[in-house]
Symmetry: C2
Subunit: 262 residues, 2 copies
């Protein structure tokens, strides 16, 4: 009778551990359902976005019952977090593994910027070519979500990325000791943007613009994208420092030359 009696069901968000008490073949079947949902959600969120993708759309595509999402994940919000978590865990572990390996080989010395950029963004693009860890679907979803306005998604992604970002940021500080930290941070941010657009490239290149790639470029294999992007990112990262207005002579630590034929 009281207005409290609501929560005798739904003991908790019964995600992935509620079934470990007993059954074992059930676990297999349940995990199949879970993965069908995750795969469908991953693809649909990528194509239509989080808000525009309904539970019924997801469960329809996954060929499972509507209630299965709430049973396995608790809510739509928890579902997208799990969509990201299962891929980001792998991605960021791999990024750190590559970075650790490089730093071990450097014997305490600074890394080359190209190594850091490759560990960060090259790993991402290589992930896009590896279907066993989500392939291009997830990477494109990630690229789009980085600019998503949804508050809780951004908070979640920030938390998932915090440690990795810190490691790479500091690696760049050591690699470019003469460049102001704020400049490095901004350029890292610009690199994120360029990479994000690189990932969604095919879509956007035919979307925002209508430029048709010439026939010889039509057979773009995805592996051509990585060297293209790496050249661009390194060119941007190593560009001469800007002449900041109000501080006309800030060029003492420039790391390149800005000649005038451009």
């Amino acid at each position: 009778m009281s207005d409290i009696g609501v929560s005798e069901t739904n003991i908790d968000a019964k995600s992935s551990d509620a079934k470990s008490v007993d059954g074992k073949a059930n676990e297999t079947r349940a995990n199949e359902t879970r993965e069908k949902i995750l795969n469908a959600a991953e693809r649909l969120f990528m194509e239509f976005g989080y808000e525009a993708t309904s539970m019924r759309h997801i469960t329809g595509e996954a060929e499972v019952n509507l209630a299965a999402v709430n049973y396995h994940f608790g809510s739509k919000e928890a579902l997208i977090q799990e969509v990201f978590r299962r891929r980001l865990d792998w991605l960021n572990d791999e990024r750190l593994r590559v970075l650790d390996e490089m730093e071990a080989e450097a014997n305490g010395g600074p890394l080359k910027p190209s190594q850091i950029v490759d560990a960060m963004f090259g790993t991402l693009l290589r992930m896009a070519n590896d279907e066993s860890v989500g392939g291009s679907t997830f990477v494109r979803l990630l690229g789009r979500t980085l600019t998503d306005p949804s508050k809780f998604i951004n908070t979640f992604l920030a938390r998932e990325h915090a440690y990795v970002m810190d490691r790479f940021k500091n690696a760049l500080f050591r690699a470019l000791p003469d460049v102001p930290k704020s400049e490095i941070i901004w350029r890292f941010h610009f690199m994120l943007g360029a990479t994000s657009y690189a990932i969604t490239g095919a879509d956007a290149l035919t979307g925002i613009t209508d430029w048709q790639l010439s026939p010889s470029d039509k057979d773009e294999r995805p592996d051509l994208l990585l060297p293209r992007l790496m050249s661009f990112l390194l060119g941007g990262l190593r560009a001469p420092l800007p002449q900041l207005p109000m501080f006309p002579n800030a060029g003492a630590t420039q790391i390149g030359t800005q000649d005038n034929i451009y």
Copy 2:
């Protein structure tokens, strides 16, 4: 009686011209209402995204009646198109005006890449500092929407940008005759991404990453962003061409040097 008799009202989407027959003070009041709606929608779409922003939220913020949106614009979809149109018309006209001016001054010769980049992306960032044409609110909305998965928005933006993109693309082709067109297209795309992230910079820099800008960087004035971004974009655009795999010696037309200390 027949099942046709539905459409004697709502002659058409009565947008902005239905009232020009007669009243004149009415017109003023109506345009005030229209602009209040457009301003509120612009801000809310920027903050929450298209799907997550409801009509009631918009009309509440604009302090107009719920039905006013459908009366003035016809539908939510038509509303966001008008939100973009009133700003993009100005932006793209300005871009073309700057480009035309530069080309006139070049007397038929090619422009410098830095001129083209400035006309395209510099104009955008200068728009962000001009509140009379939407300021940072619209520019941030645009930056986010360029990666938005919503189909009809992308179609609309592609149409709005088509001519401008074609002009700038061809200007870059002429400015960099030795660089393969596909490479230019990709780099233009990378520049779009870097710029998009530059615009949403403050948000994302504190969102995805938790890096705190040092106190001396805290007073970042928005006008410092433009030279920063321009340096990065030009560095990326002018970077040495990538060594494409399978074609080890494609470097005949390289436009820079990629030394090895990086």
